[in-house]
């Protein structure tokens, strides 16, 4: 068996990966435990939060199966809009999520788009992951939403923040009646 390659670069990469995994798992906890204000603090002020539509296309046109950024989407929000979404849930009269739903975020397959060994103050990196967002509400209403995420993370005052999130849901006709949850 080969000796582990524990160079400083390798150790730096492993440390950063653990930090990013912890960051995403904590984010999932904040959402599922409905700590939305704390969740908003994880987003940069200029975040772009985007969930494009998916289309039925030929293999030849496979690059068009995700709608472009100037086309329609499910979400295309800035931080002000995300804050309003949170505030809407917190009004207590947002019937689409009242009574509150039960939601679990499972985050997996986390990878760095570029292998790096450190992320300095102000630096950004793109990560990829898969998500399962499970929602159950009222009695038997259940949604099971699966897809990929591409997140741009940035280090601000020593902590990770999300600067851009692209959510690629694996559904064309949305099988959930609405999207009251965050991804």
């Amino acid at each position: 068996m080969a000796k582990p390659d524990l160079t400083p670069e390798r150790l730096g990469y492993l440390d950063l990966m653990r930090e990013i995994e912890d960051f995403f798992y904590r984010e999932a906890d904040l959402l599922d435990e409905r700590e939305y204000d704390e969740w908003l603090d994880l987003l940069t002020e200029d975040i772009v939060y985007w969930m494009p539509l998916r289309k039925n296309v030929s293999f030849e046109n496979r690059s068009k199966d995700i709608t472009a950024e100037n086309d329609l989407a499910w979400f295309h929000d800035d931080k002000a809009t995300l804050k309003k979404r949170v505030k809407q849930i917190q009004t207590g009269v947002h019937w689409a999520d009242e009574p509150i739903s039960r939601v679990s975020h499972l985050i997996t397959n986390i990878r760095l788009a570029e292998p790096i060994s450190s992320l300095g103050e102000g630096e950004t990196t793109m990560t990829k992951c898969r998500f399962i967002v499970y929602r159950n509400r009222v009695e038997d209403e259940t949604d099971f939403l699966v897809g990929r995420r591409e997140d741009t993370l940035v280090r601000v005052n020593g902590s990770l923040r999300i600067a851009r999130r692209k959510i690629i849901l694996d559904q064309s006709v949305l099988l959930a009646k609405n999207l009251t949850m965050f991804f």
Partner: protein, 442 residues
């Protein structure tokens, strides 16, 4: 088993404003709706901006069935059933694109974009004597119409021309689907279609958008967070006085009348958009004169096409997929000549307003879902729905055609006219009778 003749009228009592829950939850009634409404009425299929070039196609639906909207190589627009004449496979399985022909993936029967069958596997050897390919093209709709860019079709050759079908509700399209300045610049779709499934009968949705101004509490949360595009109050900018209007063809429109003398500030959170809209308003005053401030806010064209003409501007089709489920297809439209920055701002506002993630529309789906579910029970079905708001009030308006109720506009006359028309389709065999029935008031 329900008998077919005059049974729907027993379920729809518009004179007293009581309508049976059966028409929303009963599977047999739904099966009859497919035949008696969705094969006869004019249905919205798509927009001409989706098929600009010869060979462009867009796969749409009419009722439950998949159809192809396409422009052939002579530039003519067609709507075909998306089902191979040979064994029924969908001949087009992409949402949109451009093609010279539709080739069935099952046995390779191939059709031109004008629907003619041009290719059959082993045609020379397998068919003795050869069959006449001209009789085996794609099934085409009986009539098609393009009204201000919106494309409509019906399977019924006896249906009246589309403009007669619209009746006086044509006024709403003329003032609502035009460029915002009221000129000839036209409108176009803002790209793709949002499609999503909602567990409710399609009529909940059609009725809601026909002008139900009583459901304000549904949207209280979005008013509280001030979604409005000027950031100040509510979820929209000031649109003036409301006027609710119904049409004997089953259409229902909620208009707003904005005073012509006043400047009109909209979209104040985007300087570019706000300035564009102010310029449009000045031109609208010139182009439309007295009628400048008269514009539909929301409406439903019978049976299942709804639209918003102001904030947001959107077209919706509520395609039934069963008695208990509907597939909503929502598109958004803008002035073709609007600057790109304005289109982008509007697109983002429209999406946070409408669609399944729209902060307004999310709550509608919740209500339709659970209103439907709680109406399905044996005891629940015995109790009719209550549609008595504004009974006996409808009158006339100086400018806006139709049966009009205003001040207060809390009237359910529009759903009453919608369901009156629904019952006429369900009980009436011929278009002559259907056209005659328009003379009777709800």
């Amino acid at each position: 088993m329900r008998s077919r003749s005059s049974s729907a009228h027993n379920l729809v009592d518009t004179a007293n404003g009581e309508i049976s829950r059966e028409i929303f939850v009963n599977e047999e009634i739904y099966e009859q709706e497919k035949e008696r409404i969705f094969t006869r009425a004019w249905l919205y299929v798509g927009h001409e901006s989706q098929i600009r070039k010869n060979g462009d196609y867009f796969v749409s639906k009419m009722g439950e069935e998949s159809v192809i909207l396409t422009r052939d190589f002579a530039g003519k627009v067609h709507v075909f059933l998306n089902s191979c004449a040979h064994r029924g496979m969908k001949v087009c399985r992409y949402d949109e694109g451009n093609t010279r022909a539709f080739r069935c993936p099952y046995h390779a029967w191939t059709y031109k974009t004008d629907g003619t069958l041009i290719g059959v596997q082993d045609y020379e050897s397998a068919y003795q004597p050869p069959f006449d390919k001209s009789e085996w093209g794609l099934v085409e709709v009986a009539q098609l119409a393009n009204y201000m860019g919106t494309i409509w079709a019906t399977w019924d050759k006896d249906a009246p021309p589309f403009e007669d079908y619209l009746g006086e509700a044509k006024f709403a399209f003329d003032h609502g689907l035009c460029a915002w300045d009221g000129g000839d610049g036209g409108t176009e779709l803002l790209g793709s279609v949002q499609k999503w499934k909602v567990p409710c009968n399609w009529k909940f949705i059609a009725e809601n958008f026909s002008g139900d101004w009583l459901h304000g509490v549904s949207h209280r949360s979005v008013d509280m967070v001030r979604l409005g595009p000027s950031g100040e109050v509510g979820r929209r900018d000031d649109f003036g006085q409301l006027v609710v209007t119904a049409y004997p063809e089953g259409h229902g429109i909620l208009y707003s009348v904005y005073p012509n003398k006043e400047t009109r500030i909209e979209y104040a959170t985007s300087a570019v958009t706000s300035e564009y809209y102010q310029r449009c308003w000045e031109r609208r005053l010139k182009n439309r004169g007295e009628l400048a401030g008269t514009c539909p806010l929301v409406g439903t064209i019978f049976p299942n096409m709804s639209f918003h003409a102001q904030q947001p501007r959107t077209l919706l089709v509520s395609h039934p997929t069963g008695a208990n489920e509907t597939e909503m297809w929502r598109t958004y439209f803008v002035d073709s000549e609007a600057p790109e920055e304005v289109k982008q701002f509007l697109r983002d506002y429209y999406m946070r307003y409408s669609g399944p993630a729209g902060m307004t529309e999310q709550d509608d789906m919740e209500n339709w879902n659970y209103a439907h579910a709680a109406s399905s029970g044996t005891i629940a079905r015995r109790r009719p729905y209550h549609y008595k708001a504004g009974l006996g009030r409808g009158g006339a308006h100086a400018v806006i055609p139709g049966v009009v109720t205003e001040d207060p506009i809390t009237s359910e006359q529009n759903p009453r006219y919608f369901y009156k028309r629904w019952a006429e389709y369900m009980d009436t065999g011929s278009w002559d009778e259907l056209l005659d029935a328009r003379k009777i008031r709800a």
